[in-house]
Subunit: 560 residues, 2 copies
């Protein structure tokens, strides 16, 4: 059997490696148009930032090592330019020689990944405007940055001061690039068309990260795009923004999303999905029974949402590729779905999500409930912890967990992974209540944040707690008695306009004279004290009580 | 309704708090024999170590705060000395006054916890020998330590140098105390009767932690007990060990386990379980329909093992208590099982387990399979990671995960929690393969260690990989060709006696002339290269091949 693989990085190299383990005698050819295979795409920003000092660490395997250990025939600088499905061949062009040749296959795996978007703006092709997808891109960016830093260092009096960089697009690659450029000493501006950074998050969770970015000195323009680029007399670029500003930049990073590489597949008549990726079945097989596909170029079922989705992430690419190899080698393995678990480090913060966002649930018309919590990463009395911002989305009927997002400092990745596991296992908020997680003071709390999210969510489903939401303000409090149950000291520092302050400890007595039929809207800092207040009012016969999900903490992220 | 709660810490305070939220008008009385309620037991070692500087941070609630916010009648210094089930009363003795009175209840919750064991050794009651269970114990230990440190500082020439402490028992409290005492400047010796530290771990996983303890200057005697204690002329103690050594000590910490406080329950005729804890049903109800119990004093079903178990941990105590309150308040909530998830920080290392250990599975006769892995906490090319030691136990039939243990530096708690979640959800090793966990270089790998564990385990179950175990050496390699597939450089540093070195890259050629019917036993450093070797030999017709689980890494933890 001859297996040909197009693309030699996350998806492609993984297909080839697994296929070799399953079939020692297959002929396995990997065709990669670039100069490198099996490199750590995800590490590229950190070598630019010199956090990963040794460039060679990013090259996980080489054509030589893959040949030595796995007897794989890896050909770099070899672009597949045509696919003939009836002849079962691909046409390969060698970059070095320009030579073209035809390579037959019995089974073909397409893992061509995705290319960064280059919006067709005036000046987009000027030197100094970069995308970051592979080692060559990285080398170019780093060389230009090193040069600009050296120039700035040798000419400290230069107009405009040090090195300036503009990052266009605030997805995780943009944010990682901003951090790494700043780490090297550049002044960084991020420009983002949407009204928030990091699409896998809803705004209540993205805002604390935006605040952190700004507190670390990164300039951030939301709801703003790049309009044009121009060369600056004397070197560098000027970036014109849609908000009518002009920003000088020594270099520009375009991180405005990626587009799946489907040209080869489409030209050969393979079916594409509704979102423009290669269509595959649960065996990762395309519409041609001899061709499989994996990675950023494919559409797969979503774990929570209807329809098929393109999820350009390394974990799915690797696991899809493993399924491709198994099916190519005659096994019957299924890839069930992708849930889009993602995470990003942003200076000292960490943020990520798994499953669906509320934005997606709304867009797809999926009924859901929401709770917001702000627990600490580990026991508050043990040093080194901070509040995290946790948003949980779940189904109103059976309580199935639909999505979760977390931003914070310590223990964020852990809670995301636990929640991702529960989503993957089809679990409910009642399962979250029962999880028995590892507890000692440096690591968590006896009731872990994930347990807490389960408690609050199940209280909502069982009718033990009724919430109102910052997003519904001010409508949500109109005509209601708005009661802040925090202490007078907290109230004095900040409170929601129109609130009266009735500290929890005095509420049992204070509410005696209140009209039990009038609506009461409660809040505190995070939602715990107002929950206690809710319970005591409702059991005293108050007919219409609700407490603010996530308290003033969430409210202020929403309303500034 | 009148609810009386015996014990006011993890279990008791949680019962009372949840009961109040469910029933605003119940009378709720908490009776606590000690001087404090609602304190952070788990933080006690860290205040002694002055890692938690502020003692008041350990007092999460006070009788006053519980009264203010939750209208709970908390009585400290109030020991329940008798329980009359037919009269539905308890007898309370006030420590301060000696007064005894009778308190009636409608529903009673027993949360009396456990007491540290004090083995009946000669001299066990000498001053300077401490247990650590509550705030008073902590204050006493800290006062004595502070005094000894001050004395040593003011008399630097004193025979024997600085302060010396002996910790008896190397469970997690013993190990935490060792770290904290050492952190304060004491020289610490740990004495442990078993042949390993940390009972929730099997030896392959406990040994690296023992090595770390020793590398940090802690003296550790395994398979050794204390035999007797004697006063030392001039102050301090001498501890006589069963290994015939004598150790001078300024203070001794007894951390040799706990015994459930069942006296009250047993005297009142409540049923106990086979392990001596209070017997409860899945509603946490005792054999008396008006009495519930939670925490260290009860026996509950185990998630993985047959029978009922005592699991003295804070998470279970808190969640059991919540179930107690719900049932007391008329809800029908079940507590399903405890899986014993636990974790401990040991200087820079972290170690823990969830589900059953291999020792327990063997003792209970539960059929199981085992794999060992040594993945890094996050992507190896991103700074700040180290190898972890992961042991996974699973059922041979359906692949259900039965237990997992992890020791390492970064990301240990996260993998434990993910594995604990899968165990709780009844998941299998095939589920581990499919988990979609949060990946960016600072946090993990595209194939997370947990995915990897799933891959290796499912390979074992599907017959794609046959393992041999360090524990079966040397029998496992007798009569076999023992092949080390690492590089010559690695082989030169250390290898298993009798091994021949055939580096993986040369194996395809080298094996041509080998006898395919003779058994081959492979190994490498962690098991990955020898897995590749396994695949290529088996597919070449070698009839009896196996590779060493966890490689030389696990082997050396096992055989020194
Ligand atoms: C800077 C950066 C940071 C990232 N960080 C993260 C992260 O932290 N976490 C995460 O989950 N994901 C991250 N990703 C995404 C992750 O790298 C991708 O999801 C993953 O690499 C996709 O794998 P793939 O095999 O589909 O595509 P790729 O890894 O891109 O491989 C596709 C390969 O196919 C080659 N190719 C395309 N067409 C042809 C052709 N016709 N002939 C021959 N070769 C062809 C391309 O040259 C390319 O090398 C990051 C990506 C980048 C660029
Ligand atoms: C030093 C230390 C560190 C620990 N670290 C961890 C950790 O990191 N992780 C973890 O999960 N667990 C840890 N634990 C265990 C955890 O604290 C216990 O599992 C948990 O507190 C059990 O709760 P409980 O309510 O059953 O018992 P307790 O919290 O001990 O409360 C029982 C209370 O009942 C009182 N009482 C007993 N009898 C009577 C009576 N007759 N009348 C009135 N009052 C009575 C006692 O005085 C006691 O205060 C640690 C424990 C200690 C001591
Ligand atoms: C590295 C790469 C070539 C894949 O290599 P691979 O040979 O599949 O090896 P991995 O390191 O992923 O290990 C997985 C295999 O090792 C096995 N394995 C791991 N540890 C093991 C152990 N201790 N014992 C036995 N087997 C082990 C697993 O079972 C699995 O084999 P299987 O798929 O046959 O079951 C490919 O993933 C790649 O090119 N990655 C870089 C690009 C990338 O992923 N980019 C995005 C992230 S930055
Ligand atoms: C603190 C203690 C009194 C229990 O307090 P508690 O009132 O149950 O409060 P917790 O802080 O545990 O919070 C849990 C409650 O808050 C609710 N909650 C938490 N965050 C919330 C939010 N943001 N919005 C609404 N409700 C919230 C939960 O739903 C839960 O209520 P429920 O049980 O009625 O569903 C008790 O656990 C204790 O004494 N602990 C110290 C001893 C101990 O545990 N020792 C061992 C570990 S060191």
């Amino acid at each position: 059997m001859k297996i040909v693989v197009v693309g030699g990085v996350a998806g492609g190299a993984s297909v080839a490696a697994r296929a070799r383990r399953l079939d020692e005698f297959a002929e396995i050819v990997v065709l990669e148009r670039g100069d490198y295979v099996s490199f750590a795409n995800c590490g590229l920003p950190y070598h630019i930032g010199e956090v990963i000092a040794d460039r060679s660490r990013l090259l996980l395997q080489t054509p030589e090592s893959l040949h030595e250990t796995l007897a794989i025939d890896v050909r770099v600088g070899s672009e597949v330019i045509a696919l003939d499905r009836s002849a079962k061949t691909v046409t390969v062009r060698e970059a070095a020689t320009g030579r073209e040749y035809v390579e037959p296959y019995d089974r073909l795996a397409l893992c061509p990944g995705a290319d960064p978007l280059r919006p067709p703006l005036p000046g987009i092709d000027l030197p100094g405007i970069h995308v970051l997808r592979n080692v060559t891109d990285m080398d170019e960016i780093k060389a230009q940055l090193d040069e600009a830093l050296a120039a700035a260092a040798s000419a400290p009096g230069r107009t405009g001061g040090g090195v300036r960089a503009v990052v266009i697009g605030a997805g995780y690659i943009g944010v990682e690039m901003a951090e790494n450029l700043q780490h090297r000493g550049a002044a960084v501006t991020i420009v983002e068309l949407a009204d928030q950074i990091l699409p896998p998050l809803d705004t209540e969770v993205s805002v604390p990260v935006e605040q952190h970015l700004r507190s670390r000195g990164v300039e951030l323009f939301l709801s703003t795009g790049a309009a044009a680029f121009a060369e600056r007399p004397g070197g560098g670029l000027t970036v014109e923004l849609t908000n009518t500003r002009f920003i000088d930049a020594d270099l520009v990073i375009l991180s405005a999303g990626v587009r799946p590489n489907v040209g080869l597949a489409a030209d050969a008549g393979l079916e594409l999905g509704p979102r423009g990726g290669i269509r595959v079945d649960t065996h990762m097989r395309t519409s041609d029974p001899s061709i499989w596909a994996a990675g950023d170029a494919v559409e797969t079922a979503h774990t929570v949402l209807p329809g098929s989705w393109i999820t350009p992430l390394a974990g799915p690419a690797n696991r899809e590729a493993r399924v491709v190899a198994e099916n190519i080698c005659g096994r019957d393995t299924e890839y069930r779905s992708t849930q889009g678990t993602s995470i990003v480090k942003v200076f000292d913060m960490v943020a990520g999500g798994t499953g669906a966002t509320e934005r997606q649930l709304v867009a797809e018309g999926v009924e859901h409930r929401t709770v917001h919590l702000h627990p600490s990463g580990h026991a508050g009395y043990y040093p080194g912890t901070a509040q995290m911002h946790l948003k949980l989305l779940f189904a109103p009927g059976d309580g199935r967990v639909l999505g979760a997002q977390v931003a914070g400092f310590d223990g964020v990745d852990k809670r995301l992974d636990v929640l991702a596991t529960v989503i993957r296992m089809g679990g409910t908020v009642y399962d979250l209540e029962e999880l028995e997680l590892a507890y000692a003071p440096p690591f968590g709390s006896a009731k872990d944040p994930v347990n807490m999210a389960g408690f609050v969510a199940s209280n909502v489903l069982l009718g033990d707690l009724v919430l109102w939401y910052a997003g519904d303000w001010p409508a949500a409090v109109e005509g209601a008695r708005l009661v802040d149950v925090r202490t007078p000291e907290e109230f004095a520092i900040w409170h929601i306009p129109g609130a009266e302050n009735v500290p929890l400890a005095t509420l049992r007595a204070a509410c005696e004279g209140w009209d039990r039929s009038a609506p009461v809207r409660l809040y505190c800092a995070v939602g715990f004290r107002s929950y206690l207040a809710y319970r005591l009012l409702v059991q005293r016969g108050f007919a219409d009580v609700a407490t603010l999900s996530g308290g003033s903490n969430t409210f202020r992220f929403r309303h500034g």
